[in-house]
């Protein structure tokens, strides 16, 4: 039968394809009304439905003996012993941050915190992974300042320390910056809360801030490519209220403690729609809401506006029968708006009342489990050929080369950024962005345990070879946790890519996930949560593929941990791992020769693991004074960072001076720079274990030097490394 298409045009505006509209009509056996269409459009948006990525996400290993809850809930949950759990997730706020950097980033931080305390955890650490356009792009400075101020403004006020993160600059992000925020929380394993509605006839309680007309269609927005018209598409910007969030955290945890909560879910993207639909859907029940009861900030809001509003700092809870008063008491104490707005039903349908009329009555299934699922066509992505180091020139001026690298935007000190973040609130921070360690470390309050957290991705590797780049992102996160002495537990991820309707982009997605999944399997590093952000492109130009990995590790006794700021004069420096001098897609090649080419360094996962386990053991035995993983810029940058952080000079002594530049700047994976006063037994043990280990240098004096190649005072080195960012933002 011919379906009438009179709303199809509207559907198009909502980001629904004609065939998707057709599908809706089929599922309903009738035309949807305007409200129902809006609800379908957000639930079927890439952001909520994962319709393009889900088939590939299935490749991730998501179980392990420490995994309590994998993907599928608001955040992942892992066991950290003694009846305690770490709960964490990463999420993007890319498009909103490009439109309004301060509020976009701030609300991103607020959203990810809600995903974590929704599950019963008190947030204890924040991270942020940021990618901006080329520093010379006219928008970059403003976006950087706004995003950083927004992250600080929100996290500082709520009172959760921001302990780690990463920041890259590349012209590939000129039109689409990436703002990925991660939150880690702590809970008792017997007090974790889930979102599935556990029964019918239960009261549905709305609490938090009032509903306004904020960010209507934010979810569909986040799933649309920027065109010239994106200004018109712009939703009214969501404004964050960190003060309300702080009250929301305390009230939510207090309410949970009363035992009144049966199920709970934050209102994130697509607000009231996704939260009510997901809770009822997961519980296999129906839900009926009376929208007249929703606390409203503005006059005359339509049902459509209420269901699609993305007003911040709102929660939806299903409370146990007869426990509404516990809820009322807690909300009154914290001065939060709250109302019972409906009940769960046995109909399996979403029924909405407004002004006494039924304005929506649709089955839940098509919105959730049988939402469209795409096996999008994809082609093998282009991969860069290997480059022989011999074909890459040594620097003409070594001093200049070293200084250029430590001052390169991706390497330069990010002090100007992290000094705007409260890294110490909660009084459990042991290592943060300022202290010179490969991961942030926070104590598990009142215990000897600590959690190590890191966020990693090297987009230039993923661009050159999505599979290897995907592997590398996971391996580097594992390495960073290991380098501080932690047992890596699990990861969350944020897959940032371009338009999945283009086969070459879909190929990047598929291959990057394959690589990540392989690394996760071989390193016993399961994925417990994550987020996908697609359509990050402007005028048909996509961002570099950026699968950000956020990882959490456990330190059983924080007295036995390592950093790279404790190097002592007289220490001997060793490199654990194999150095072939891989310069393909290296920082050296890009920053000194403007060449972005060549195969990225491959990751040998077996040695990744064996090298890491070896180093972790040495740390636990207290035999190392300093440890730093080798990544961007290779040995030179790793050693320079160690020297600057420790304020102790280093004399590097490469074993072979043939292709010294490859040895010094090569980015071979799975390597650690370690410092010890007693190297011989360590070398012997490594060799006995069949691992490669090489003498790399000697600590002492006040210069960073290598033979007659270069000699730079720590002051000069620091000036270059600390100088770039303040100068760039004009705070110099």
């Amino acid at each position: 039968m011919e379906t009438p298409f009179h709303l199809a045009a509207t559907a198009e505006e909502f980001g629904l394809k004609p065939e998707e509209y057709h599908l809706i009509v089929q599922r309903l056996n009738r035309e949807p009304n305007h409200l129902e269409l809006g609800i379908f459009s957000v639930m079927w948006s890439e952001h909520c439905s994962y319709k393009s990525s889900r088939v590939h996400l299935g490749k991730f290993p998501t179980t392990g003996e420490r995994v309590i809850q994998g993907p599928g809930e608001n955040a992942g949950v892992v066991d950290i012993g003694d009846g305690q759990a770490a709960i964490f997730k990463m999420e993007s706020h890319n498009h909103p941050s490009f439109i309004e950097p301060y509020q976009g980033a701030a609300t991103g931080v607020g959203g990810i915190m809600r995903d974590v305390f929704t599950m019963g955890a008190r947030p204890i650490a924040l991270l942020n992974a940021l990618r901006f356009g080329d520093p010379s792009h006219p928008k970059t400075r403003r976006l950087l300042s706004g995003v950083v101020a927004g992250i600080g403004g929100y996290g500082n006020c709520v009172g959760v320390p921001t302990v780690a993160g990463e920041t890259n600059f590349h012209r590939g992000y000129d039109g689409n910056i990436l703002v990925n925020a991660m939150c880690v929380g702590l809970a008792d394993t017997d007090k974790i809360f889930y979102s599935a509605a556990p029964g019918v006839g239960l009261p549905v309680v709305y609490f938090g801030s009032k509903t306004g007309r904020d960010g209507i269609h934010g979810a569909t927005m986040a799933s649309a490519e920027f065109g010239e018209d994106s200004d018109e598409k712009r939703p009214t910007v969501q404004v964050g209220d960190p003060f309300a969030e702080k009250l929301l955290i305390e009230a939510t945890l207090e309410l949970m403690a009363t035992g009144a909560v049966a199920a709970i879910q934050d209102m994130g993207a697509a607000g009231l729609t996704s939260s009510s639909v997901e809770m009822a859907g997961k519980g296999g029940v129906g839900v009926e809401l009376d929208l007249d009861l929703v606390p409203q900030r503005e006059e005359g809001m339509s049902a459509y506006e209420m269901m699609l509003s993305e007003s911040q700092e709102r929660m939806l809870a299903i409370v146990k029968e007869g426990r509404e008063d516990d809820a009322r008491f807690v909300f009154a104490k914290w001065g939060l708006d709250a109302a019972v707005i409906g009940r769960t039903t046995d109909t399996g349908r979403l029924v909405l009342l407004h002004g006494g009329d039924v304005v929506c009555d649709i089955p839940l299934a098509p919105l959730t489990e049988d939402a469209p699922l795409y096996h999008r066509p994809w082609v093998e992505p282009h991969v860069e050929p290997h480059i022989d180091p011999a074909h890459i020139p040594a620097p003409a001026d070594w001093d200049a080369a070293v200084l250029t690298l430590v001052a390169a935007p991706d390497v330069a000190s990010k002090r100007w950024i992290w000094e705007q973040y409260d890294r110490h609130v909660m009084a459990d921070t042991l290592e943060d962005s300022a202290t010179g360690a490969d991961a942030g470390i926070v104590r598990v309050h009142g215990t000897k345990k600590a959690l190590a957290v890191t966020s990693d991705c090297t987009p230039r590797y993923v661009a050159a070879n999505p599979f290897e780049g995907g592997k590398q992102a996971v391996a580097e996160a594992w390495r960073n946790l290991t380098a501080v002495g932690a047992d890596p537990i699990a990861i969350t991820d944020n897959l940032n890519f371009g338009n999945p309707e283009r086969p070459e982009i879909m190929g990047q997605i598929a291959r990057a996930i394959d690589g990540m999944a392989e690394a996760c399997r071989l390193l016993d590093f399961p994925v417990v949560s994550g987020n996908v952000s697609l359509y990050n492109e402007t005028g048909g130009v996509a961002i570099p593929p950026t699968p950000t990995v956020g990882a959490v590790g456990l330190i059983p006794d924080y007295a036995r941990r390592a950093d790279y700021a404790s190097l002592r004069p007289g220490d001997v420096l060793l490199v654990v791992g194999t150095s072939h001098g891989e310069l393909g897609s290296s920082l050296y090649l890009r920053e000194l020769f403007g060449r972005e080419e060549g195969a990225p360094p491959p990751v040998d996962l077996e040695f990744e693991r064996r090298n890491g386990d070896f180093v972790r053991e040495l740390i636990r035995e207290g035999r190392l004074s300093a440890v730093h993983d080798l990544s961007d810029g290779g040995l030179v940058v790793g050693a320079a960072e160690m020297a600057m952080a420790s304020n102790v000079g280093i004399e590097l002594t490469p074993t072979s001076l043939k292709h010294a530049h490859a040895f010094l700047f090569g980015e071979d994976q799975g390597r650690y720079l370690i410092a010890t006063a007693d190297p011989d037994p360590i070398v012997a043990e490594a060799l006995a274990a069949g691992l490669n280990i090489a003498l790399a240098g000697q600590a002492g004096g006040h210069d960073f030097a290598c033979h007659d190649l270069f000699r730079i005072s720590l002051e000069r080195l620091r000036a270059a490394n600390e100088g770039w960012l303040p100068e760039y933002v004009g705070a110099g």
């Binding site: 309004e100 301060y102 509020q103 404004v239 003060f243 503005e298 911040q312």
Partner: protein, 76 residues
């Protein structure tokens, strides 16, 4: 010449400060106060000859964030 610029959040954009101030005033015994809005005001001297057009340009470039804020210019 003196310029005065008022910058307020656009209607519909959540004014968190206004909300907080309103609650506080109610608590202090002024329950009748309503629709509190908190904004920024800038005052500065202009070189002779320059006028409203320049100040409007300044707002667009720097003084207001037109994504969420609207502004009002007076030159006297």
């Amino acid at each position: 010449m003196k310029a005065t610029v008022h910058v307020f959040l656009k209607p519909g954009v959540l004014d968190v400060q206004g909300k907080a101030v309103e609650n506080a005033l109610h608590g202090l015994g002024w329950p009748g106060v309503a629709n509190v809005r908190v904004g920024r005001v800038l005052e500065f001297d202009l070189p002779p000859g320059s006028g409203e057009a320049e100040v409007t340009a300044m707002c667009e470039r720097l003084l207001a964030n037109t994504v969420i804020e609207s502004y009002r210019v007076e030159v006297a």
